[in-house]
């Protein structure tokens, strides 16, 4: 099922939670709503589910306007951050709930329900826990049961509200991969809310980056990472170091270094921040270097070698990553100096920083 959201606004008192949201979620894809806490991503998800009402705007499921539909008529699956399992029911009854509340005419027979529930429990690999109660399960197990419960009614849309936010790091990583697999297997259109960029990059087909109730950029992980539209996206996705420079004559200047810009006519003279990612540095000759720096720390972690370097004569510590194979040829040592030049700089003028600086 494809989801279309048109001109959606939501305020809580004087707080604008969502500001003119327009979004298209394609059928069968896993889309993430990514942003810092308070950016409106959960509110948007709850409005799609029908748990909250938008002030205005429309929500379409497959082109059908569901804006005024009651939450129970939207037939979506929803997974809560804190599981929200029915605490007085065992695992089997939790998963069966959505089937047992169907009107008598549509309700499957007892045997059919039992078969379906058992299949779902097998899908989430917890069929041996059918008789247990939620409080007897670990967090990861609870969330898998919550997913099975949501899937029991064959939803055309699955909404996940920070589903792994309450779990510890190891379980979170496992469940991510597992969710990815289940999504591949079932192909149900899914929207995942998360503030964890790593999670979004790893799991989703498409990422919607949100900030202050607005959508900053939509795209797959590669597009967001390589072509961030603004400073917020550049800084929110992946690690960056920021350098305050100036735009003059179609290039960005930082001390003696200059970086030519595309679409030169677009740029006015102004101060502008350039972002460089740790792995987008190269060793430079004295002539084309951005700056020289002293190595203060070297960490080899598998395929990558991470350096902490101190620009000379002064400046904040910067993280630089080289492929270990390359780094080993360079004979780097703590205290040594090197000249660095960026392979890629993301430059954003002042106007694009205003939102972000708040």
């Amino acid at each position: 099922m494809s989801i279309t959201i048109e001109n959606l606004n939501k305020t809580f008192g004087s707080f604008q939670a969502l500001n003119n949201i327009n979004l298209n979620v394609p059928t069968g894809k896993l889309t993430s709503l990514l942003g810092p806490s308070g950016c409106g991503k959960t509110t948007l998800l709850r409005i799609i589910a029908g748990l909250e009402n938008a002030d205005n705007g429309r929500i379409l499921f497959d082109g059908r306007d569901v804006t005024k539909h009651h939450v129970r008529d939207r037939k979506v699956g929803f997974v809560f951050q804190h599981y929200a399992l029915f605490r007085h029911m065992n695992v089997f009854d939790n998963v069966a709930f959505g089937l047992t509340v169907l009107p008598r005419s549509e309700r499957p027979g007892k045997a059919e329900i039992a078969e379906k529930v058992t299949n779902l429990l097998k899908l989430v690999q917890l069929d041996h826990l059918a008789k247990s109660y939620p409080h007897q399960l670990s967090g990861g197990q609870r969330q898998r049961i919550a997913l099975a419960r949501a899937l029991a009614v064959d939803p055309k849309l699955l909404l996940l509200d920070e589903p792994f936010g309450a779990l510890d790091a190891k379980v979170r990583k496992e469940l991510r991969t597992w969710l990815r697999d289940i999504h591949h297997e079932l192909g149900v259109t899914s929207i995942l809310v998360t503030h964890d960029q790593e999670e979004a990059l790893e799991v989703s087909d498409e990422i919607v980056v949100m900030n202050h109730g607005k959508i900053e950029q939509t795209g797959d992980a590669d597009v967001l990472y390589r072509r961030p539209k603004n400073a917020f996206v550049a800084e929110f996705l992946g690690e960056t170091n920021a350098f305050e420079g100036r735009i003059e004559k179609g290039a960005w200047h930082y001390e003696g270094f200059s970086w030519p810009l595309d679409q030169q006519g677009r740029w006015q003279e102004q101060t502008a921040v350039g972002y460089v990612r740790p792995h987008e540095w190269r060793l430079a000759e004295a002539a084309d270097k951005m700056f020289s720096a002293k190595i203060t720390d070297i960490q080899v972690s598998g395929a990558l070698t991470h350096l902490a370097v101190q620009p000379l004569p002064k400046g904040e510590l910067i993280r630089v990553s080289f492929a270990t194979s390359e780094a080993s040829k360079l004979a780097l040592s703590v205290g040594g100096e090197l000249a660095l030049s960026p392979k890629q700089v993301y430059v954003f003028g002042q106007s694009e920083l205003i939102d972000f600086a708040i």
Binding site: V71, R72, V76, F80, F86, R87, M89, G98, V101, R149
Partner: protein, 285 residues
């Protein structure tokens, strides 16, 4: 006091026994002796006289009225209490804080004043009461007045038990039920009610105890018509004032037994709740 208590963090033995002794003495004098005295006085004239004073026409009428009152008040206030708790924990609206405070009014106002309020509202010499009387409905000095006064006095018990619980449980399970397609009724019967069951029973026990034992508010609106508008607590006072000690204490013993039964029930419900909570927390950790 457990023998395993660490002696490094306790007071000297003598002081321990002194404090325990004082507490026990107080309990004995203030609770056990008076309670025993009630039964002693009630049975002083022998078992036959005790039974006779309970099956006396006036006593029987008072017991019946008390039971009728409780039978109406308890279910009505159970339903209103759940509705009130629902309203105050599941919705945000203007004046919610005010309503929460008002909920405690029956606890904070003297029961006598509560009774007087109903006399002023429904009495025969007031406009509304006069109109009702012309329709053949008598509220004050009749059973409806007694039920109204008891409803008022016992209104907060159920809601007060439920509100903290429903607040701590939150509404996400209910939302989950709705998303899964449950109707409002299905959600209430299959998710909300099972989650608040024990607190609700606890509130009902308290409501029942108070509605059977209420004196002040009922005394004002009842009119003390013998054989008609006397509840058990009212009749106890009347009999006592008439020096019919055996009758007064026999009826008192009924109320005392009710109190003991209430405490036992409360304890059982508490234990069940505590066990469930402990089990939940053990697994949570």
């Amino acid at each position: 006091m457990s023998m395993k208590t660490n002696p490094n963090i306790t007071e000297p033995r003598a002081l321990q026994w002194l404090l325990i002794g004082v507490a026990l003495l107080f309990l004995l004098l203030m609770l056990v002796v008076p309670l025993a005295a009630v039964f002693f006085e009630a049975l002083k004239g022998g078992w036959d006289l005790y039974v006779a004073s309970l099956v006396d026409a006036e006593a029987k009428s008072a017991i019946r009225l008390t039971l009728i009152t409780a039978a109406i008040v308890v279910p009505v206030n159970a339903i209103l209490g759940v509705a009130m708790a629902w309203l105050l924990t599941r919705f945000d609206f203007r004046g919610k804080q005010m309503l929460t405070t008002l909920l405690d009014l029956p606890f904070s106002v003297s029961p006598v004043v509560a009774g007087l309020m109903f006399v002023l509202l429904f009495g025969a010499h007031t406009a509304f009461g006069g109109w009702l009387e012309s329709q053949g409905i008598q509220v004050i000095f009749a059973i409806p007045g007694i039920i109204l006064a008891t409803l008022f006095v016992t209104f907060p018990f159920v809601a007060r038990e439920l509100i903290p619980l429903m607040q701590s449980q939150g509404d996400s399970e209910e939302q989950a039920a709705l998303i899964l397609g449950a109707s409002g009724w299905q959600m209430f019967w299959r998710v909300t009610l099972p989650n608040i069951k024990w607190a609700l029973i606890y509130g009902i026990i308290l409501t029942n105890a108070r509605s059977m034992g209420e004196f002040g508010a009922v005394s004002v609106v009842s009119g003390h018509i013998r054989g008609e508008t006397n509840t058990v607590p009212l009749l106890v006072e009347i009999l006592y004032n008439e020096y019919q000690f055996v009758g007064a204490f026999a009826l008192s013993s009924i109320l005392a037994l009710l109190a003991i039964a209430t405490l036992v029930l409360q304890d059982i419900v508490n234990r069940i709740q505590a066990r469930k909570l402990a089990a939940a927390e053990r697994k949570e950790a």
